[in-house]
Subunit: 190 residues, 2 copies
Amino acid sequence: MSELEPTADARETLLEKYRRGLVQVYTGNGKGKTTAAFGQALRAVGQGFRVCIIQFMKGRKYGEFLAAERCLPNLTVRLSGLDSFVMRDNPAPLDIELAKQGLALAREAVASGDYEMVILDEINVAVDFKLIPVAEVIDLIQTRPPAVDLILTGRYAPPEIIALADTVSEIHEIKHHYNAGIKDRAGIEY
Amino acid sequence: MSELEPTADARETLLEKYRRGLVQVYTGNGKGKTTAAFGQALRAVGQGFRVCIIQFMKGRKYGEFLAAERCLPNLTVRLSGLDSFVMRDNPAPLDIELAKQGLALAREAVASGDYEMVILDEINVAVDFKLIPVAEVIDLIQTRPPAVDLILTGRYAPPEIIALADTVSEIHEIKHHYNAGIKDRAGIEY
């Protein structure tokens, strides 16, 4: 594994004294939210950023986790969920506990100074499913060291979070191969 | 750099005799199209796929290019454009020439058997700007070895390509930090 050094352009960005990190949200019902966040992470890592991704409600190492773990030392991925679906109206106590642990990890990552970018994958869904109170996510956004870039993904982004964000992309499903009966595939869905 | 081997799940997918690769399109005016494609590439690489990305109308190594070049031997990225904007109504002959070269690279990558996934970044814009005839892209999609996954990105995806795709995600800009006067940043835009 080879450590990446910040490029001259990135160093300028990183050192900019009054730099304010951006809050980005990827939401909507279409394919591409988590992958957009990981693509953003890859871009940032390529410029020398250190990026931490916390995956809420996921308990399985997807391909992006495996690639990061093996090949990208500046991209840390942590899982904080089970490898089973959460029941929207009846989450298990362990689902709630793991989401809370994920939020604690997120606070730690944001405050640590170890990362220029922190990505909270599927946190919008964790809020919508009431695993995490929206007030705690708002607090995390508002109290973070201002230079840290934050990305929040998942359907159902709450309006309070959209209001705080600098950039919000809503991904609409125009078509999905699921509807043609094509099932989950390694390399595509996970 | 460490080579990634296909996981058991991915091997099953890759070896599936009658596997039909998917055609995905990421379009729309919001941030996240190229990053979604690179995130998908990272996922696929993590599962052991070999992925080739051809970037149309781009002449600069963005962060994702740098990360791939340095850390991800199974992710090949090729540029086929200039590091300047193409004039929509008056493209330079060199813009057209480079887009054509990109298309030739794409045909080669798709036919080579060296890649399970080929990503044509910004090709929709190259078609919209008339650097490439849509008929040639349709031909590439229809004549590819059927197992190859294809991803096409960029605004203005033509209806003929949307019709052929298995999955189409349209990324809408709800908000963008550009509108608050925040300029391009290393690690975020490139």
